[in-house]
Every structure is written in structure tokens, then in C-alpha cells.
Symmetry: C2
Subunit: 425 residues, 2 copies
Amino acid sequence: MKAVILASGQGSRIGYKTKPLLKVAGRRIVDRTIILLKQHVEEFIFVVRKDNDELEKHLEKNWKGKINYKVVKNPVPERGNGYSFFLAKNAVGNSKFVLTMGDHVYSKEFVEKAVKLEGLIGDFKPKYVDVSEATKVKVEKKRLKDIGKNLKDFDCVDTGFFVLDNKAFEAAEKVAERKEVVELSEVMKELKPVVSEVSGEFWMDVDTLDDLKKAKKLLVKLSVKGKGDGLISRTINRKISTKISEFLVDYVTPNKATLLAFFVGILSAFLVFLNIGLAGVVYQFSSILDGIDGEIARASLRTSKFGEWIDSILDRYVDFAFLLAIAIYACREAISTKLLIITMFALIGCVMVSYSTEKFKAAYGFSAYVLKEMKYLFGKRDERIFIEMIFCLLNMPVILLLAIALIGNIRVASTIAIVYKKLKF
Amino acid sequence: MKAVILASGQGSRIGYKTKPLLKVAGRRIVDRTIILLKQHVEEFIFVVRKDNDELEKHLEKNWKGKINYKVVKNPVPERGNGYSFFLAKNAVGNSKFVLTMGDHVYSKEFVEKAVKLEGLIGDFKPKYVDVSEATKVKVEKKRLKDIGKNLKDFDCVDTGFFVLDNKAFEAAEKVAERKEVVELSEVMKELKPVVSEVSGEFWMDVDTLDDLKKAKKLLVKLSVKGKGDGLISRTINRKISTKISEFLVDYVTPNKATLLAFFVGILSAFLVFLNIGLAGVVYQFSSILDGIDGEIARASLRTSKFGEWIDSILDRYVDFAFLLAIAIYACREAISTKLLIITMFALIGCVMVSYSTEKFKAAYGFSAYVLKEMKYLFGKRDERIFIEMIFCLLNMPVILLLAIALIGNIRVASTIAIVYKKLKF
């Protein structure tokens, strides 16, 4: 399969002549499309305006040798995007191909589903686009019957994503013979392709600066992977972290965000000796920041196994540093064997909560959170840190350690009970 | 594919009339064969003596409803195992089938390789069988040329494992027409099957009580999965643990062995307050016992993900308990913030060594030990425990904690450095 990407627009409404090079959530639109499509297609064909070589330069600098691609130049972009499409004919040859628009942003989920289908990919329940601005499609017997911006009676919205074969070029040629300006919708009206459904997934076309902001916001919001989130994460942390991610996603890499959360966490441990209440608040803030690396990574298509791994190790050391600081702080009044024991239990409980689920994934090959009983357990990191903040504000370090010792180890014991009951054999 | 299992021998040399029901390393021979073959075949056909229904009763009690099987009764077992084989003809029908002997013990690795091949499976480099007693095979142009116990010139040894089709029954019929006693080797001489190679893997036929002992010993020895073993494990622990496993494998389940090691570990922590030197020795002994559950599980084909998971969690708590005991013991002289800090560092280091590799497996989907630099790192559990024993014997609890704090955390830092260098992207 190949991919044809139409990038011969003028970008007049947004005031930037090469829309595919606009950055949305830390990635240029074209790079996003390439990343999402490259495991599915063996060659990309970009159709650009003859008088604009910015995209070509970008591809040469960033993608040469990494993907196969051709650039087709359109000397008459004023003849419409249907004509631009037609110009890709020779480059495509006899291959099946994906056709998509250079200024459209798609989520990973959308692309994964769409590439497996055929014809015009329609969204029957558009959640993220302004339907009044969208191109509508009327379907009859699974094929396109009519298409246009002003259709009153329609079934779905054109996502700008197509999976086509040679016949589409024949249709484009026919339209080009009778019309000077060839819109892609005209080509589709001639072709009457199958209409396949990918509904409710994120996709957008970017026409204005407002669209650009909206796309960024949505990509960050959708990057929240809720599965492992505890109560505090869902109700407080994520609401704040997504706002911060939205602000940072264009400037900060996920690994830098990981380091930032780590340093703020370590800082909170040192702050214990200055002001324990402040330390608790900063620790809770580091817990909010801890969500940002993942959000930025997923929104900007920069997830990495290394990132996931190192984040998880650094979290354990932050928790260790904070508990150690609290224990030392508690020592100031009187150090006792009892305190040592409580502190040790707090540390092992706190680390083993994470250890038990990670080792589960290593042994079983899937997440322990598919066991629904796991979701009702209290004591995930976000929840523990919130409790710790409260005891810091109350200046009750020993009770804090005792609480963590109990919460952590009870959670581990409950995890063992659940897994034993469900998956002993 | 089906499987034909010949079980019509008299077991006269071993003094037990139903050899397939003998236990080898915690499993009856026939159960072992069924477990190893059941994911590859859809039906089992057992050929038994008409005057011995022990195997049939065993199958009914243990395997009914779990596998498809038929029992074919041989009224004239004195006509030889080739004739027993011939009697399976109708039950097999037109299917391709595995033919194997009811008194042969095979390793998982042997079966996994052999079922994918065809004809007579020959071992060209027998490592575990007494060649003088074995049936030898001469090969010519990839086919059997001659077969017999007393062949002087031979290429490989008959493993008693065959992958055959209908033609084998025709050959058996021909031999049966001209001979009263039909040995399987006569059938093979007639058939001249392809000879396929599975060399060096464990398999054995069990004729005597000595064979039985030898098979058990080898199965336990081969169950040592060396990949995660540290220096002390390789040089000391495994040598002792395999001896203990050999003794226990017929009586103890892997999960009970896990609990045993756990309790001995916890006991060692309590012993610190009685006699720290003894405690260190018992801790080291629990480290030896820690290998037994895995050895028994693999030798008796009882490995489980739950077992792997819970063993790993309990190990962390044993290490925790021992460090805590040592810290409390060290407190007796003088408790100080310094001691608290060292103890906390020891605990986090000790747990994070394991956490970092388990989380690696969870994130990357493969073991961190495929990175060869990982093998040179010091500080695996067996190594740490050995060091701890030495400091216990020297009655140096604080130095012990300091050593573990250093060894553990340096190992984690080194792991991060290695992974970062190799797998950052």
C-alpha cells in the first residue's frame, strides 16, 4: 500500500502557506501523518504547489533515508485538490493507496482502524469537528450517494481519509475533462466509493489558528491513559496536569518532563527540613507533574519504553527520598527503634505496591488492572501522596509514616489475595 | 495430528507391571507425555495389554474430559510392540500421528522440536542415554537403512519418538503376515522412514529402577534456568538446591517449596536476635531453598505464572525482614539518624535491584539480561545474601547495611546506565 498526501493548499485562512508544517502538540502535522502511516505503507507521495518548496526541504532534512517518498509538483494548484490528486497517478502506479489531506490531524486510534477499511472513511458520530463546517456525505447501499458542505440530509462526515485504488484516478480524469477546477468532492461524486465507518475517534482539519489550538488541547486531553489512575489522579491531578501539558507540549520532550517531576519530587524531600507543610504541597505538585511526561509523550507521538521504565524507577526513588526526609524530621524530637520499624514498613509497602503490579505484568504479560477488583483497592501513588500532603500540613510525620506503612502493605496483601483467587492456576 | 502411545509392556525388569504409571520427578511418565503432547495433538490412542486395566483407570480418573483419548486393548501382547502398534490402525484412521513409547521420558525441548519433524526421530549426539543399551539406526540418503540394538556401524540412536502416517500400518501389517512376533524395529526396517534429527536434548527410556533415579536426577538438573543466576547461585546454591529438589520433587509442590523458603527466610530474620552468625547462615540457606520451587516446578512440569509472581514478592519481604532485623539489632548499641539513613538506603537499593529488571520486562516485553553488560553487574540477590552472611558471621551489622546500601544502589544506577546506552530510543 502507498499513501498520497495532498499538500497543495495555500493556507490563506491561517496565514501560513505550508499548513502541513504547522506544529500541533509538539509535532508538525505532516510528521504526525508520516509516523502514524509508516508501518502501514511502503511509499509516500506528496503533492505540493510548484511555487512552494518548504515541505520538500522539510522531508529531505527529516525523512530522507527513513521512509520512501516522492514529491509531485502541481504547477496549477488553482485547478483544485482533485486535480492535485490526479497528478499523483503515475507515482502511485497500480498500488492500492491511502489518500489523505496534508492539513488533517488524526489520532493513532483513527489511523489504525481506517487503514484496514476501504473507500471513503466516514465519521457517523463526529465528536471533535464542527459539523457545520465539515463536508457531509449521504450514503446509499453502503456507497457514497452525494457529498458536499451544504447537504441537508446526510449520514456521515468526510474525514479526509480514503483507501482507494486506480479507479479513483479514472474518476478524477473524467471530472478534469469537463471542468477546469476539480474539487476532490467532485471526484468522489463521480467515483461513488464504498463508505466505511470510523466513528467517534479524534480527527480534525486545521484551517484556522483556533483549529490549531483546539487540536492541541484535544490531543493532550485524549492522551490521558486512565487505566492506572487512582482517585486523586482522576479528580485533581489530571485536570491540572493536562493544562500544564497543553502549555509545555510544544517545547518540552517527555524525558525532560520526567526529569522535571523527579527534581520537584526530590526538592519536596529537602523542603521537609524548611517547612513540612510546604514540602507536602510540593510533593503533591510533583505527583501532578508526574502525569505530564506520559501526556506529552502520547500527544506528541513520542512514547518510549525507556521513558516508561525510567519514570517508574525515578518515582520509587522520589517516594524513598520523601519518606526518608519525613523519618529524619520525625527523629528530631526523639529517635527510637519503633520509628525505625514504622519507617521501614512504610518504605517497603510503598515500593511493593508498584512492584507487585509490575512483576505481575512481567510474569503474566498483561496488566493486573484487567482484574476489576484491583480497581477498588486504595493506595495508589497519587492517593498515598495526597494523604502524605495532608499529614504534612497537620505536621504529623509519625502518623504519616504509620499511615503509609498500613496503606501500602494492606494494598499489597489485597493484591495477592485477588490474584490468588483469580489466577492461581 | 493424533498420538499413539504404546503401553503394552510387562515391566518385568523394573518389577512394576504398568511402567507408564511410574513417577519420575513428581509426575507419572504417561502424564508427562500427555502434558507435553496435548497442545500438539487432538487425540491420544493408548495401546494396553488386555489383562491390565491400571492405565485405563488412571486415564479415566485424571484425564477424562480434559483430553480426547481412546484405549485399544491388545489381547496378544506377546506378539511384540510392533503388533501393538498395528492394533492402533483403526483408531488412528487417516490422520498423521506421533508414535511414542509409554515408558519413555522426554523433556519439553525434545518434544517441541520433534513434533515439527517427520519419520523416526534420531538422536545423533545422545548425551543422556546409555548407547550400548540403545537401539541404533544407520541412515542412508536421509532414510533409515538399518536398525537394531547390536548395529556396529550406526549414525544415531532411536529415541522412541516417531511422526508417521498410514504407511507405517501397512508396513506393520506386512511384517505381521510373515512373523509371529513383530518388533517395532522390524516395522521400521520394512517402512524405511525418513530419519529426522533432534540431538542432545533430554530423553530416556525407563527399564530399571536405576533408570528411574537417573531420569529424576537429570530432570532436576536440567530444570536449572541459569539466566538470572548470580555468581553464588552458580557456584554454591544450585549445587545444593538441586540435591534437595531431587529429594523433594516427588513429595512437594512448587508453591509449598516457595512457602518453605519464605518461612526459613523469615525465621532467619528472627534468629538475628538469638545469634546473628547463625541467622546469617540460615538466611543463606533460605537463599539456597529459594531455587527449589523453580527447579521442582520445571522438573515436574508444574511451572505457573502465579508461582513466579508470588515467589518474587515474598523474596522482597524476606529481604525486608532481614534488613529490618539487622537494623534493630544494630540499634541495641546506639540508635542514630545515621543508622536510619543507612538502613533505608539498604532497603531501597535491595528492592530496586529487582524492581528495575522486573519493570524492564513489563515495559520492554523481554528480559533485561539479554543485554550482555547486565551479566557483569554484581549484586544479585544470591550475591547480596552471601555478603550479608559473611558480615553476620563477623558480627558487623552496620557494615552489612552499608554494604547492601552501596551494592544495591550502585547496581541500579549501573542498570540505568546500561539501558540508557543501549535502548534509549
